[in-house]
């Protein structure tokens, strides 16, 4: 069965989580975000009621300019790591929760799951799709206009 989905305003995020817990959704599944680009970020929390076997998703949005959301760790302690991962990957902050880096090195710059984050490997690694049908690696020395791989901004990686 598919999940019940509730979209709530950012101010109601914590109370919605408290209500979900009170209804019996005691199992924390996941908390993560979606980069909606000009529409800001969407935060998704999925919880589960083990007795009714019912899945519930809470969703809320925050603007790109002010990516701050209430923490739900007071309701679901297990959300702590997920909030830390979401904070570092999307560049969000959670009120009332110290979101020190969980996975990334301390001095890492940028937020890898933002859509505008350029993956260095996409620039450094040769794209296997650059070859045309009928070509092998040896043909790449021949000068011609070649397609750029998806995710590599114009001007990057060109020598």
């Amino acid at each position: 069965m598919s999940d019940e989905v509730r979209e709530v305003p950012r101010e109601a995020w914590l109370t919605a989580a408290q209500a979900a817990y009170g209804e019996g959704h005691r199992f924390f599944d996941v908390l993560t975000a979606v980069d909606l680009e000009q529409d800001g970020f969407e935060l998704v929390l999925r919880v589960w009621d083990p007795e009714r076997r019912h899945g519930l998703q809470l969703r809320t949005r925050c603007p790109r300019e002010e990516p701050v959301l209430p923490s739900v760790t007071s309701v679901y302690a297990g959300a702590g790591w997920h909030e830390r991962a979401t904070a570092e990957m999307f560049g969000l902050a959670f009120d009332g929760h110290d979101t020190a880096h969980l996975l990334l090195p301390d001095r890492f710059e940028g937020h890898p799951l933002r859509k505008d984050f350029v993956l260095a490997a996409r620039v450094a690694k040769p794209w296997p799709g650059v070859k045309e049908p009928g070509e092998s690696d040896a043909d790449l020395a021949r000068p011609r206009r070649r397609p750029a791989p998806p995710g590599r901004p114009a001007g990057w990686g060109e020598s």
Binding site: K125, W127, P128, G129, K131, E132, P133, G134, E135, S136, D137, P147, P149
Partner: protein
Amino acid sequence: MSEVPERTRGVIALRAESCTSCMLCVRECPDWCIELDSHKETVPPETERGRPRVVAVLDRFAIDYGLCMWCGICVEVCPFDALFWAPTHDHAVPDARQLVHERDVLGLWLADVPGLAEGNVHDGPGVGQDSDPL
């Protein structure tokens, strides 16, 4: 091999004779895990008034299962039914470099593709039009 459902995404098998080296799978792969080399050959005209054709001939087709995330986009985008899911599993190797499988191994897995021998192959849900007989 233990019993798994036929639809299991175990490995991707290659039917090299169906591959036209069009590069679509290589370019669509989000993980860049497919390497394909080919060269051009001129085929003489088949009829008296025909013209010679230039075709791409496959030299190398390899999938790096150390990079693959089993998304199946390559299977879906292949316009020529050259790639198939097979439920074969248990491919652990002691060295990650051994996870790069070349066309000979990818071709062996064709024997495990459900329904392929009977010409009754489905790429997966929603692509029923690709289920034409061989």
